[in-house]
Amino acid sequence: MSRLGVGGLLLAVAFPVLTGFHPYYLYLLGTGYLLASLASAWGLLAYAGQISFGHAAFFGLGAYTTALLALKLGVTPWLGILLAGGAGALGALPIGAAAHRLRGAYLALASLAYAEVLRVLALNWTGLTGGGAGLIGLPALRVGVELELARERAGGYYLSLAVLLVALAVFAGLRRTRVGLAWAAIREREERAQILGVSPTSYKLLAFACSGALTGLVGALYAHSVRFIEPDLVFGRYFSILPLIMATFGGLHTLLGPPAGALVLYLVSEFVFHPLLPRLHQLPYALALIGVVFALPRGLAGLIGRR
């Protein structure tokens, strides 16, 4: 790991202490880590050459899975979050299967439609999901260790950080294996990959499952963090478009670009635009997308090497 990486990690670990466990900052950065994981999940799929406009589908499936398990069956949120990861993976398989036939923009539009279908389903299946009124009163996560560090929101902060780091470690490992090589080959030239013996369908399914699992897990963590979910929020376009912009802004096909892009954009939006231009606090996302398209095709990663 580079010095920059070690420095960043130490700073992240020490952050709660440095801010005197300020709950607002911890909440903000903790949410930033969740979005960074979401962007990484999206980026993992893009690494395999598959573009999704519908990650809210997997996010929402994760959120509803843990919410329903907790509220209807009394399942502990910790188990709920793990099962939400499974739900995200399973929910991603139909789109992964569609990727067998659909490419590029067609696949992206299919994923957008898929998220819309799930949103409408959640809106209308009132008996199960509460419909548009959503589900309230989700239990909060308890990091039950009586450590000084765990007071206020530090527990949630460290949990989000840990999820991000584990996800990045797994992704970094995968990139070095035959799976990562197959993903890159499919992304670069699918037909050539086939001629060299790669089966695109199974590796695409695996990419969708991995991305869906992490996204579902993040959706569940988010649900227990805000403790209220509704279809328009968790299945809405926000969680489909946000990871796309964050990952593209950070740098496609890189490991650290998507999470870095997510943190930069989210923090700029919250710290700079929210106080100064509250109605335009989503402007950085639009500007970032325009900037990437016109000036920075490789995103932030293009500015500082390629990792």
Binding site: R178, A184, G197
Partner: protein, 242 residues
């Protein structure tokens, strides 16, 4: 038993008959040339053999097994490698990673990571790209791209190589080097089926030559015999051997 066999292979694109009832058989350890005027169906035949295009009728057999209808990756894993007329490596991967794809998912895939890497580097040395292992494929010159095409096709340890105009765009000396390399590969036990537009250097080494004209196989035999055929001369009338 022939290594590769075509039985009544036909391909129709709308009103165009790209191939009509093509019958051929290629024996092991031979270098066979596939020639014919532009648009005679040479590349279509390669597309069918490698599984990228389904024939309208007929079938292809490899080592006696029907491969028509199988996925390209399944055909590749049986031991058929190919190059493309326009070089198609993975542009954003390094030259070494390009070859590693072939090594990892081909018939050398059971090796450990270190051995796969060694095999890939060996393949790059073989085609004279040893010093370019760390470069991105998109940074290579045309000549280097052609070498990478060959390294990619060889990486999966194929028994049969389909070579689609690998020498086009190269200077005459470069062409002769590549063709001489084909002959060396044959000596190592490979079977080669090669399309060449400028075919004279290839015929020097070829054991046999097949000639396609407007989708039909019009000649099949030793080079000297085939080139003496009036039918072949007629097909090439007005074509320049560049």
């Amino acid at each position: 038993m022939a290594l590769l066999e075509g039985r009544g292979v036909a391909k129709r694109y709308g009103g165009l008959e790209a191939l009509r009832g093509v019958e051929f058989a290629i024996e092991e350890r031979q270098l066979v040339a596939l020639i014919g005027p532009n648009g005679s169906g040479k590349t279509t035949l390669f597309q069918i053999v490698s599984g990228l295009v389904r024939p309208t009728a007929g079938e292809v057999r490899f080592r006696g097994v029907r491969i028509t209808g199988r996925a390209p990756q399944a055909i590749a894993r049986l031991g058929i490698g190919r190059t493309f007329q326009i070089a198609r490596p993975f542009p954003d991967l390094t030259v070494l990673d390009n070859v590693l794809v072939g090594v990892t998912f081909g018939r050398a895939g059971r090796l450990g990571p270190a051995e796969r890497r060694r095999e890939a580097l060996g393949g790059l040395e073989l085609v004279g790209l040893g010093t370019k292992a760390g470069a991105l494929a998109s940074q290579l010159s045309l000549g280097e791209l052609k070498r990478l095409e060959l390294a990619l096709a060889l990486a999966a340890r194929p028994g049969l190589l389909l070579l689609d105009e690998l020498t086009s765009g190269l200077p005459p000396r470069g062409r002769e080097e590549v063709i001489a390399f084909y002959a060396r590969l044959r000596e190592r036990g490979l079977t080669l089926f090669a399309i060449e537009h400028a075919f004279r250097p290839l015929l020097v080494h070829a054991d046999r030559v097949l000639v396609l004209d407007r989708g039909e196989l019009i000649a099949d035999g030793p080079p000297a015999e085939v080139m003496a055929s009036p039918r072949v001369a007629e097909a090439y009338l007005g074509e320049e051997d560049d």
